[in-house]
């Protein structure tokens, strides 16, 4: 009857699972705002119901048709009638009057539980967060004990000692529940306490109490309101339950639980009696829960890697639409069918529009009009900063875009088939066997609950249909192939028992288990130590050579490109801005963005001519929803001018078969200009003297705005 822990908001992960997860970025608290109460219909209805019932109960003496003890012997156990809207009980008392006469007491005493539970729980959490580990350990131990008590039995024993003093009993109930609230609040209070601005305040000599009140408490307000709403519901249910078993207010006084108890005696001859009180109680609890759940919902939860059945059905529809729209590519085998060649044509990827409707493509576009080819046995680098759509492009090759994101147009031609229009069933036959994936964070790419051996052998058996002994031998063989010396031992360990570099080797072995012809590597070295990076890169290089598979390498590191790639496609804001052979692009970059990336790369220049100051690209990649129809790089470009304020096509750059998307590419090449290390870019604008149209000026204002942020060495370190 008594929940020993506050019911967690439906969508928040349980604290016990936290042990499995890598430390999540500290989420700063959320502040409560009244507007949030009205974001969902259920919560709006809940607020209206609660307001109505509070108003009705407070004004009850003014409008109630009967006194609670008035007995109407002409209408005993009657259903709803003109005189008694909700019927009468066994003594002919009016139900409507009794329900609302007792409402104020029920709601009020439930608030006592809320105030004690949430107040004490929050206070303890703030104290534990502020006072350091030992105090926290002590408080946590005590709350753990409180949470493992049979609360109902204890409350009844309390009633035995203090009698049916409802306010006091509800207060003690609040103390018992506060342990659960503390558990919910502690994590948040600690993350707020560890924010940088709190450290700064500490240095400034703000007292611990001041910090708790000024910086921690405001961040907890949303959770406080969520928990208060949920505990309010719990309090009402428990109070009704106590009254039901005879520990309610003294007899003639009505209470909801007591009325249901009375009704239960007449379930044989007057079942209606159950309905009004039960409905009012249930609706009030529902209202409080609806408010709590609406506020507690985590905003923009990470997308699922395996969309639900409903989402998959929707995606299948969208895929069918693409298949219908695209020219019959699969038939033109002679055109694009050369073996193991990947041809991406005009690929677009977008966020599904908010409405659940079938009109995909109305959402924000993340990748627009991307085309490239990967010849058999070659390595293509996809380069750019975070948020340029590299990873989305790469994942679309395997049909593994996260839920809520899908291919909205174009073709992915692989061995004569258009993968952009392939069903998930078809893709299952291609993933692993023909196209494999290595992802950025090896530790998270392996299932923490299963041994390396289980994961590897399951994949080998599935993808190669081998027998048991053969599978084991092949697993050992693969691990040795990726440079693991004690392969037999590694097979028996769990992912958390090996290092990041080792995990990435295992992940590569896993990717090779189906003998793929194309390997998609999504920043395979970003999360690793520098020394390990080099080892993994040389492993990938030798594997590509040995197996003859082609590789699509997503990276932000031009060193990796120079090292490994035959061709490069430079991406900026969802577009390819330059594309060509690696040597010609590195030696002779044509697009300002490529120039900037090279100038900002600490490895690209030799030690001798290492500049005193590394160049930066001011500002950030714009959000996909802010991408202009004109040149998307103009706002950050040192060479931008009015000529850039037009849609820019990808055109032959003049060097080899390279392509570039810049109206000034030729001009830059002729002048031989370099991206310079300065925070004030606009002086280098070529056509400074030109009078500019209004549109260009707004662009500049935006540039200036971006400049106000501290300059970042964006290209050097890719935080994602």
């Amino acid at each position: 009857m008594i929940p020993n822990v506050a019911p967690a908001p439906a969508d928040s992960p349980d604290p016990t699972s936290a042990a499995l997860l890598p430390p999540a970025p500290a989420r700063a608290g959320r502040r409560f705002s009244v507007a949030k109460l009205f974001t969902s219909p259920a919560s709006t209805a809940g607020v209206i119901w609660l307001a109505a019932i509070v108003l009705a109960s407070l004004t009850a003496p003014l409008w109630l048709p009967f006194k609670t003890e008035d007995q109407d012997f002409t209408a005993v156990l009657s259903g709803p009638s003109a005189a008694h809207w909700l019927g009468t009980d066994e003594l002919g008392r009016d139900l409507l009057s009794r329900i609302f006469a007792s409402a104020a007491g029920t709601l009020g005493t439930s608030m006592i539980t809320v105030i004690v539970a949430v107040g004490l729980g929050t206070l303890l959490a703030m104290l534990a967060a502020a006072a350091g580990e030992r105090v926290e350990a002590g408080i946590s131990r005590v709350t753990e004990i409180m949470m493992s008590l049979p609360g109902t039995v204890i409350i009844l024993a309390v009633i035995g000692a203090v009698g049916t003093n409802i306010p006091l009993v509800m207060a003690i109930l609040g103390v018992l529940i506060s342990a659960g609230i503390y558990r919910v609040m502690l994590g948040q209070a600690k993350s707020l306490q560890s924010q940088l601005y709190v450290d700064a305040a500490k240095v400034d000599g703000v007292s611990a109490v001041g910090i708790s009140l000024r910086h921690v408490l405001p961040g907890l307000t949303n959770t406080i309101v969520v928990q208060a709403a949920l505990i309010f519901a719990v309090g009402m249910l428990i109070q009704a339950g106590l009254a039901f078993i005879g520990f309610g207010p003294p007899i003639p006084e009505p209470s909801w639980g007591g009325m249901i108890q009375g009704a239960s005696q007449h379930v044989y001859d007057a079942p209606w009696l159950m309905v009004p009180t039960g409905a009012v109680l249930a609706l009030t609890v529902l209202a409080a829960n609806a408010i709590g759940n609406a506020l507690g919902k985590a905003p923009n939860a990470t997308a699922s890697h395996l969309p639900s059945a409903a989402a998959r059905r929707q995606r299948a529809k969208a895929v069918a639409a693409i298949a219908a729209a695209a020219p019959t590519a699969s038939s033109g085998e002679d055109e694009a069918g050369s073996k193991d060649t990947l041809s991406v044509r005009n690929l677009s990827v977008g966020v599904d529009s908010a409405g659940t409707g079938a009109d995909t493509g109305n959402g924000v576009r993340l990748v627009t009009d991307v085309s490239f080819d990967v010849e058999p046995g070659t390595v293509l680098g996809l380069v750019g900063e975070s948020g340029c759509g590299k990873t989305m492009t790469a994942l679309s090759l395997l049909g593994l875009l996260p839920s809520g994101v899908s291919v909205t147009g174009g073709q992915i031609l692989w061995n004569g088939r258009n993968l952009a229009a392939a069903t998930d069933k078809d893709m299952e036959g291609i993933r692993g066997r023909e196209i494999a994936l290595i992802s950025q964070e090896p530790m998270r790419a392996l299932d923490p609950m299963f041994t390396v051996g289980y994961q590897l052998t399951a994949a080998i058996r599935r993808l190669r249909r081998t027998g048991r002994a053969e599978t084991k031998a092949e697993a050992l063989n693969l691990l040795e192939k990726v440079g693991i010396v004690d392969a037999a031992r590694i097979l028996t360990v769990y992912p958390h028992q090996i290092s990041g570099g080792m995990a990435q080797r295992v992940a590569i072995a896993l990717a090779l288990s189906g003998r793929p012809r194309l390997l998609v590597a999504d920043e395979p070295t970003t999360a690793l130590d520098v020394t390990v990076q080099a080892e993994i890169l040389s492993l990938l290089r030798s594997l590509a050579k040995e197996t003859g598979m082609s590789v699509v390498m997503v990276t932000h590191d031009l060193g990796v490109v120079a090292d490994l790639c035959d061709r490069v496609a430079v991406m900026y804001a969802g577009q390819i801005v330059e594309n060509g052979r690696t040597d010609s692009i590195l030696d002779n970059p044509r697009h300002p963005y490529t120039l900037a990336l090279l100038a900002a790369d600490p490895h690209a220049t030799s030690a001798a001519d290492m500049p005193e100051r590394l160049a930066t690209i001011s500002g950030q990649v714009p959000q996909p929803k802010d991408w202009p129809t004109t040149c998307r790089f103009a706002a950050r470009c040192q060479f931008a001018g009015s000529a850039c304020m037009v849609p820019v096509p990808l055109v032959p750059s003049g060097t080899g078969e390279g392509l570039v998307r810049c109206v000034k590419a030729d001009e830059l090449a002729v002048e031989g200009l370099d991206w310079v290390a300065t925070d004030v870019p606009t002086h280098r604008i070529l056509d400074l003297v030109e009078t500019r149209p209004a549109e260009a000026r707004t662009t500049e204002i935006r540039t200036a705005h971006v400049e106000a942020r501290p300059a970042e060495r964006t290209a050097e370190k890719d935080p994602a």
């Binding site: 009857m1 039995v153 078993i245 609706l283 769990y494 958390h496 288990s513």
Partner: protein
Amino acid sequence: MALFIAKRLLMALATVLVVAVLAFLLVHAMPGSPGAVSLGAGASQEAIDEVNQRLGWSDSLPVQFFRWLGAAVQGDFGISLIDGRSVSADLAGRLPVTASLAAGATVLSAVLGIALGVTAAVRGGVVDRIIGGVAGMAVALPAFWIGIIFVYLLAVQSPIFPATGYVPFEVSPRDWALSLALPVITLAVGGAAFIARQTRASMLEALQQEHIRTLRATATPTWKILYVHALRYASLPIVAGIALQFIQLFGGSVIAEQLFAMPGLGQAVQNSVSTHDAPSVQGVVVIATVVVVAVNLVLELATKFLDPKLRAS
């Protein structure tokens, strides 16, 4: 692992001890001395004093506490002030009733809740919304109200199950099961809804993990990703949720026992609290705590065993 178990055992012991002290103090705060309660209204002051004297009521609190604790450790909770029977014997007869009730309700909640929660997470869309709505309703409706409706529908309207009463397993296993059916279902409605929500949230979180993408990239069939890998990952919080649910259902049996007239621990608490029967209250509080703490301990160890990181260390 051994250290972990030792720590947990110590915590469990501490919990029971805290409750023992609490129960003892609460009982001493009850109105009326044992003599007055035992002899009832109208007894002479001399008679009351005589009983109090015999029970050692005038001794100091610590002396009384350790005398009581010493006996309790050996399984003797004294004599009921109301009917003069041994409290331990009475509780021993009641424990199986509540245990079958709570265990049955927990198992049913877990099975139903996991099935519904997984379905909601996996199917998504309309199915998810329907399950979410039903679970929301089930959490909001008080168990005693649901119980009465079940009695009305399944015992009065169509007499499938007995409305009240309990038949011991030794008498007739079939009647035992039938007599438990309605109370177990009544308690399981709320429990299943709670576990369904927990399961749904844990499954969705599991499906957001990056290793799910690796599994898809190596052509793992969808059923295997869902029911082997994701469910395995989600199992930790789900088992933790079931442990919480057991505590709640054990307490919830007070209402179910009252509603279905079952001679369990819950009924004993209610009776002894109403009649100020101090030894009975003490006994039942301690026994209930021991059961809850023990089950919790087992489920917690199960959770740790499910986690490879903790198992290895």
